[in-house]
Amino acid sequence: MEIAVGIDLGSTTTKAVILNEKNELLGRGITNSRSNYDVACSIARDEAFIRARFALTGGFLGTDWETSETRNAVLDELERRFRMQQHLEQVSRLREELHHAAEAPRHAEYRSGLNDALDTILDSMVKNAPALYDTGVERKSDFFRDLASAEYMDLANKISDPKGIDFETLCGVYDAAILDVENTASDLSFDANITAALEETLAASHLNLEGDADKLRNAVVQARDAELYERGTVGTGYGRQRLPFPKEQIRSEILCHGLGAHYMFPNTATVLDIGGQDTKAIQVDSKGIVTSFQMNDRCAAGCGRYLGYIADEMNLALHELGPLAQKATTKVKISSTCTVFAGAELRDRLAAGQRREDILGGLHRAIILRAMSLLARSGGVEEEFTFTGGVARNPAATQALRDLVEENYGNKTINISPDSIYTGAIGAALFAAQGTEAPAQEVSA
C-alpha cells in the first residue's frame, strides 16, 4: 500500500500522520519534542505506523464479525494491552535510569536506602499498570512522561521520609532519569509488542474469543506484515530545518496548517493556530491555499507554553487547566506580558484572595485577546473559522475564543477538531501526497 507521511516537528510536541492512497487518515503519532529532535521525530513516526497497523488490523478483521461492538471491543482490548506492554517497557527503562542516577556521588551516603525506595516505587508502578490500562479507564495523558511523573511523585510523596530519603532527593533523581528515558528510543514498535498483547487479548475471559482466535491472529499478522510504501514524506513545524530531509521535502508550517485545516473542514476560510511557542493567523482560499498570514514569535507569552508554565505553577495537569478556568465567575484582567511575571502576578493575586478559577479565566482570555489582534491583522475572521494547534484542546481557550469572535465578528461557524493538534502534520502529508515537483522522491520506498 502506498502512503504519504507528514511530520510536524513542533516546539512542544512532534506529530506524524500517515495518509493512504485515498488521502484518508491511516495513522497518527505524537510525542514530546522536549527530547532530542531526531528521536522525537522517529518516535512520532513509529507511533503513526503503529496506529496505521492497528487501523489495518481492523480492516483485515473485516466486517463479518458478530456485531461491530464486539469487533471494536476486541480491537480496543488489543490496543490497550499493547499500550500496557509499551508502558511496562518504559517503566523498566526508567528503573534502569533511576538506579543510574542514584550512582551520583552526592547520594553515596544513603545510596542503598535510595535504591530500595526507588524499587518500592517502581514495583508499585508495575503493579498499577494493568489498572491504568483497564477497560474504560481514561488516561490523563498520551505521554509516558506525564503519566509516569504523576504516579511517581504521588508514590514518592507517600514513602518519603523527611529524616531519611526525602522527597527532594527522590524528585532529583527522577528529573535526571526521565530525561534519558525520553531521549533514547526504546523499541516500542508494533512488531516487538504486539505478540504479547495478542496472547493476552485472546486469553481475556470476558471476550470469549476461542472461536475467533485464528481470525484475530490472521488479521494481526497480515497487518504486521503489510508493506507500506512511502510515496513521499514532507516535514514542517518549528524545527523543520533540523529534519534530515532535502529542501523540497520541507514546507512552511503556515502552508501546512492552511492545507490541513482545509482538509479537515473544507469550507475553512480563516485558521488560527496556537501552538507551544507561536501563534499564527492564516487566511486560505477555497482550495486551502494561503492568501495571507500573520504570526507572532516574540516570546513564550500568550502561547501554549504559557499555559504549561501556569499549570506547573498551580500544580495542575495541563488538561485540568481549561476546565478549572471555565468555572470563573468574574473577569480578571491580567496585565503581565511575560509568562514568568504572570506566574508572580498569579501568586500575588492568590495572596490577595482572588479565586484561582477567576485568575485562570483571565489568563485564558488574555491569551485569546492576543490571538484576536493577530487575526485582525491577518484580515479578520471569515466564515468558516477553524481553530488548530494544541491549545485548541483547551476548553477554556476555545470558549474565550468563541466569545470574542462572537463579540467582534458576529455569529461564525467555528470548527475545532479533536485532531486539531495534527493539522500541520496532515497538511505536510498532503503535500507529500501531491509530490508533484520532486519526481525523485516517488521512487523512495
Binding site: 502552508l255 482550495k287 495571507s292
Partner: protein, 437 residues
C-alpha cells in the same frame, strides 16, 4: 568604456562593469571622508544635515562640506560597529525604545567621531536641521546642539498630509531659507549667497537625476537587471548625499547607466554578493528601510530563493525623482522647497499607498513586502494599514517582517527567515494552483 576590447563571457563583462561604478562610488565616498578629515586644517567649514530634504546644492554653493549622520549610522551598522555605539548611548541615558540611528550617532560621537572608513569627522560648524518627514531629526540635532554648542539653522518642512503642496507651505519654506538658512550659512562660511552658483549646481543635479531615474526604472525589465532595494541602496548613495549637483555625481550616474543598459541588452539579472542571480522567480515591491547590521544575510534570504526587488520606497527618502520631480535651476529656492516636501517620508499615508500600488502595477510585481523597523516611527506607524490596503487594492499578497536599522539585537535571523520562506512558498503555491493575483 562601452567598448570592451575583446569579447568575453557576459558574466565577466558584468563583473567588470559592476566594479567600475562601484569603484567610482567608493572613491567618491572615500574622498569625501578625507576632505572632511582635512577640513579643519584647511579651514573649511562643515555642516551636518539629514538625507531627506537635504540642501546639498545650497550648502555646496557656500563651499561648505556636508556631513550626513544617518549615512554614518548606516555605515556603522554595515560594519558591525553600531551595536557598541548604541550601548554607549544607552549608557548615557538614552532609552532602548527610541530610534537607533540617533543612538548610533551619539555613541559614535562619544567614541571620538571616527567615520566608518576610519577618518576623523570634524565637529560641525553648523547644524542644518532639515526637519523633513521625521520628528526625531529635531531631537537628534537638539542633542548634538547640547554636545557641540554650535549654531543650529532650523528648516521646518510642512508635512504633505493631503498630497498637495499648498502655497503657504512653499512660502513658509522659502521664507525660512531666506531669513534663517542663508544668513546662517553666510555667517558660518564667510561667503555671500551666490544664486548663480546655486543655479549651476541645480542644473547638474537635474542632469544626474535623469540618469538616476533611468537606472531605477530599468527594473521594469524582465528579468530585472538590478535589485532595486539591496542594490538600490548603493545606487541612491551619491544622489541622496553629498554629490548631488556635482560633476562627479553626473559622471557616476552616466557610468552606472551604461552598465545597466548593457545588462538589459544581455538579459542579465542583478548582481548579488554571491554572483549573478540566474533565475528570477519572484518580483517584489518593498516598503521600509533595510536592516544594515545583517545586510548581506538579509539580502541572501531573498536572492537564494530567486526573489528580486523591483521597486522600493526606501530609495525615495531622498526625493521622488521617478515621479517627475527635477531640481529646477530657474526657481532655485522654490525648487528646493518642493524637493523637501516631496521626500517619501514627508508624504501622507494615502499618497504612500498610491505610490506603492502604482509600483506593483508598473513593475509587474507578484509580491509586496514590508520590512518594519523598530527605530523609525516615521516609516513604521501605519504600515500594517498599508499592508491591508495594498492587498485589497492590488490583490497581491503582502508579507510583513520586523527588524531594525542598526540595532543588531532586533535582527532575529531565524524568525525573519521563517517568515520570508513561508511568504515565498505561499506565492509559489498560489502561482501553481493558478490563483490570479
Amino acid at each position: 568604456m562601452t567598448n570592451p576590447k575583446q569579447p568575453s563571457s557576459p558574466g565577466t563583462i558584468a563583473e567588470v562593469r559592476k566594479e567600475e561604478s562601484m569603484n567610482l562610488q567608493k572613491q567618491m565616498i572615500g574622498g569625501h571622508y578625507q576632505a572632511l578629515e582635512r577640513a579643519p586644517k584647511e579651514g573649511r567649514k562643515v555642516v551636518y544635515t539629514f538625507v531627506p530634504g537635504n540642501l546639498t546644492e545650497l550648502i555646496r554653493s557656500f563651499d561648505l562640506l556636508p556631513v550626513l549622520p544617518e549615512i554614518n549610522a548606516l555605515q556603522s551598522g554595515m560594519r558591525k560597529l553600531s551595536g557598541g555605539y548604541i550601548a554607549e548611548a544607552e549608557k548615557s541615558g538614552h532609552s532602548e525604545d527610541v530610534c537607533t540611528y540617533v543612538k548610533c550617532d551619539i555613541g559614535m560621537m562619544k567614541k571620538g567621531n571616527i567615520s566608518p572608513t576610519g577618518t576623523k569627522i570634524p565637529d560641525p560648524d553648523l547644524l542644518l536641521l532639515s526637519y523633513t518627514g521625521c520628528f526625531t531629526f529635531m531631537k537628534w540635532f537638539e542633542l548634538l546642539r547640547e554636545e557641540y554648542g554650535c549654531p543650529v539653522a532650523m528648516l521646518h518642512v510642512p508635512y504633505q498630509a493631503d498630497g498637495t503642496i499648498h502655497a503657504h507651505h512653499r512660502d513658509y519654506i522659502v521664507e525660512q531659507i531666506k531669513t534663517e538658512l542663508i544668513p546662517k550659512l553666510e555667517q558660518v562660511s564667510g561667503q555671500k549667497y551666490d544664486e548663480d552658483r546655486l543655479k549651476e549646481s541645480l542644473k547638474l543635479s537635474a542632469e544626474a537625476e535623469d540618469d538616476f531615474v533611468h537606472v531605477i526604472e530599468s527594473a521594469k525589465n524582465v528579468p530585472s537587471p538590478i535589485d532595486a532595494y539591496f542594490g538600490g541602496v548603493f545606487y541612491i548613495g551619491p544622489m541622496f548625499t553629498a554629490f548631488r549637483g556635482t560633476p562627479e555625481g553626473v559622471e557616476y550616474y552616466k557610468t552606472l547607466c551604461a552598465e545597466i543598459d548593457e545588462r538589459v541588452r544581455l538579459g542579465l539579472g542583478p548582481i548579488t554578493p554571491d554572483g549573478e542571480m540566474t533565475e528570477e522567480r519572484f518580483r517584489l515591491v518593498v516598503e521600509g528601510p533595510p536592516n544594515w547590521t545583517s545586510f548581506r544575510e538579509f539580502w541572501k534570504m531573498f536572492y537564494e530563493e530567486g526573489a528580486v526587488f523591483v521597486a522600493s520606497s526606501y530609495t525615495k527618502v531622498g526625493g521622488l525623482y521617478d515621479r517627475g520631480f527635477r531640481h529646477d535651476p530657474e526657481h532655485p529656492l522654490e525648487t528646493l522647497a518642493d524637493y523637501c516636501m516631496g521626500c517619501y517620508t514627508n508624504l501622507g499615508l494615502p499618497s504612500r499607498i498610491e505610490l506603492l500600488q502604482d509600483y506593483i502595477n508598473e513593475y509587474k510585481a507578484d509580491g509586496f513586502m514590508i520590512n518594519s523597523v523598530k527605530s523609525c516611527n516615521s516609516f513604521s506607524a501605519g504600515q500594517l494599514l498599508i499592508l491591508r490596503q495594498i492587498e485589497e487594492r492590488t490583490g497581491v499578497p503582502g508579507g510583513f517582517i520586523e527588524s531594525d536599522l542598526v540595532d543588531p539585537r532586533y535582527f532575529s535571523a531565524a524568525n525573519i527567515k521563517n517568515r520570508i520562506e513561508s511568504y515565498l512558498q505561499m506565492l509559489e503555491q498560489r502561482r501553481k494552483t493558478g490563483v490570479a493575483s
